[in-house]
Every structure is written in C-alpha cells, then in structure tokens.
C-alpha cells in the first residue's frame, strides 16, 4: 500500500516537472518568455525531475544538511527557489518602472517640441 502511494506521488512529480520543462521550452520558442527568465524555471523543472526519478537522492540530501524529514528539505529548497524568483521579479519590475518613467518623460518633452514646431510651421504658412 505504502509503496504504491510513493510511486504515484513520484509519477505525479515526474509528469509535473516534464510539463513545466515542456511548457517553458515551448514558451521560449514562441517568444512568450525571455531566455533570461526561462533559466530559473529550467533549473526548477530539472530539480523536480531529478528528485522524482531518484527518490533516494532526497533522503541523502536531507541527511547531508541535517533535516530528519526528507520532504521538508524538498519544500525548503523549493521555497528558496520561489524567494529567489520573486526577488528576481521585483528587480525586473523596478527596472521596467524606471524605463517606463524615462519613456513617459521623453514622450512628454517630445510632444511639447512637436507642438512648437507645428505652431511655427503654421505661422509661416499663414
């Protein structure tokens, strides 16, 4: 009974990680996702894939870092990955905000110059 439970969760893990890897691969190919951001997703996908294929690996690793309950080590690593990913996103958003501000300001300044040029042309035509 217990053996089958472990097997099914491993199967789910396998399908899950393969799905992640395949969708990230496809999204990068279709240019929906930038290569830069795909890297961390590939790492997460490979990590879960390896962990679901070699189930002893998790026990070995948990033992190594002194965690008694192996799945906890797995969660800890995933949470760390998520933190890293979120930080990465915050940095990206800050960068986007800065670019957005610069573009908005330049657009405003350019619109004013355009208006002035248009006015000059109009007064010349008259």
């Amino acid at each position: 009974m217990e053996v089958r439970d472990i097997d099914s969760i491993h199967l789910i893990g396998l399908v899950f990680s393969l799905t992640i890897l395949a969708s990230v691969f496809l999204m990068v190919r279709e240019r929906m996702l930038k290569e830069k951001y795909s890297l961390v997703w590939f790492v997460i996908g490979f990590f879960t894939l390896v962990m679901s294929i070699f189930k002893d690996l998790m026990d070995w690793f948990a033992n190594l870092i002194g965690v008694y309950y192996a799945p906890s080590a797995f969660f800890a690593i995933l949470i760390a990955c998520a933190y890293f990913l979120l930080l990465n996103m915050s940095v990206s958003i800050s960068g986007l905000k800065t670019y957005n501000k610069i573009l908005t300001q330049e657009l405003g300044l350019t619109k004013l110059r355009l208006e002035e040029v248009e006015k000059k042309i109009k007064s010349r035509e008259l």
């Binding site: 905000k97 957005n100 501000k101 908005t104 300001q105 657009l107 405003g108 300044l109 619109k111 004013l112 002035e116």
Partner: protein, 245 residues
C-alpha cells in the same frame, strides 16, 4: 559681482524657468499661472500635467505663452518635476523654480529665494515654512515629522534644514544638471537634498510664507503619514549609503 549689486533685477536678467507640476488642479492652475505672471513677468512657465483626469491641461493652455507638457502616464510628483529638470537642462535655463499647482506656494516669494541664492552662492535654496513660523501653523503630527527630519539631516549630512519636504525651491544650473539625472519618484524633496550634498553642492534655506490650499486636499492624510514617514526615512538612509549617483 553684478548679481550682488542689483539683487532686485537679478531674477529678471537671467533665464529662469518656473515649473508647475499639476495633477487634477483645474480650479487652481489658472490662478497660479496668473500669480506667477504678475510677480515674475519675464520668467518662462512650464506646466507639467501629470496625466490629470480633469481639464487641467485645457485650463493651462488657455494662458498665453505657457508651455504645457502632458505626460501620457501618471508618474507622481517626482517624475513630473524631473521632466521639468530635463526640460530646463536641455533648454539651457540658468535657474529653475518649482511652484506647486495647488496654489500653496506664493510666487511673490520667489524673489526671496533668488536673492538668497545670489547672496549665498548656494546651488539650491529651499523656501522654508518654519524659519518664519508666523505664517504657517502645521498640525501636531506634521511638526513631529519635521523635527524627525531636521535631526536626521543634521546627523547624516551635517546640514540644518528645517523644512526638508518643502517643494518650493530655486535651483541653479549645477543642481538642474544633477537632478535631471537623479530624482526619486514618491518622496523626492528630502532625497534631492542628499543627492545634491553628495555631489558636493551647497544648500541653504530662507523663510517664506505659504498659503493653505484652496481646493482639494493634501496627498498626505493622517492615516498615510506614518507610512509616508517610514518610506521617506528609509529612502533618506538608503540614499546616504549610496556611493554611485
């Protein structure tokens, strides 16, 4: 030397830009522009409409000779004023004064700022509400906040600044150049003091009168003010540790 001799004409002679950031100020904007015109007839006026949803832009355009920049997205006060710095920088203005679109700043007081700048040789002069305390009675909470900022600035940059959040300031060419590159978004005034100090520029203050607002309400409400304080203090502390500007 010339500047010191006839201080009264000092602002008229140089190229000065008045920047009026405005967000939903349709009731105030024309009056503010009129006031500026009355007291500074030779200054150029630039209104920066920070994506208002009312008729601020239309109203401002009704005043003749006023330049209006309509920002396509709402950037907040810092982003709007920085647009003014960029304009002043690219058009070669020697001086820039910020006058808020809500009518709080009194254009007649610009002369005081300019004279102080001419006399002291400082690169930025802040119009302070608290050096001349009779004109302005801030609430208890605000006074507390001001005190905290005063001591913070004294500790961090050894400058005695009584009104670090005042936006009523005159900038010269040097500070325009610095601030057109670095001007923060949400709480730019205290941050700008540090940016200028770190760039080796000189800052001083002069007491000015300010009005209570006629329409609308302040952006800093009672509930938001501790949040504002925390954000500004954090931003000041982080700015101080910054080595690359």
């Amino acid at each position: 030397m010339q500047k010191d001799i006839d201080e009264c004409c000092y602002i008229e002679k140089e190229k000065i830009l008045i920047v009026i950031p405005a967000f939903n100020e349709q009731h105030n904007i024309l009056k503010v522009i009129g006031d500026v015109r009355d007291s500074l007839p030779n200054a150029d006026i630039l209104v920066i409409n920070d994506c208002s949803v009312d008729s601020t832009s239309v109203q401002a355009r009704m005043a003749k000779g006023v330049k209006v920049i309509d920002l396509p997205c709402n950037l907040g006060i810092g982003g709007a004023v920085q647009t003014g710095f960029k304009y002043a920088n690219s058009m070669g203005y020697q001086y820039m004064v910020q006058i808020d679109g809500d009518g709080q700043h009194i254009p007649q007081e610009v002369e005081k700022l300019a004279n102080t700048m001419g006399r002291s040789g400082c690169d930025m002069v802040i119009g302070s509400r608290f050096l001349d305390i009779q004109s302005y009675r801030p609430t208890w909470g605000r006074r507390m906040g001001i005190k905290v900022f005063y001591h913070l600035f004294r500790m961090l940059i050894h400058a005695k600044i009584t009104d670090s959040t005042s936006g009523f300031r005159i900038y010269n060419r040097k500070s325009i150049e610095v601030l057109s590159k670095y001007y923060s978004n949400d709480y730019p005034e205290p941050d700008a003091i540090i940016a200028l100090k770190k760039n080796g520029l000189c800052i001083c203050e002069v007491g000015v009168k300010m009005r209570e607002r006629e329409h609308g309400s302040s952006s800093i409400t009672l509930i938001k003010s501790p949040y504002y304080m925390a954000k500004v203090i954090l931003s000041i502390l982080l700015s101080c540790t910054r080595t690359r500007w």
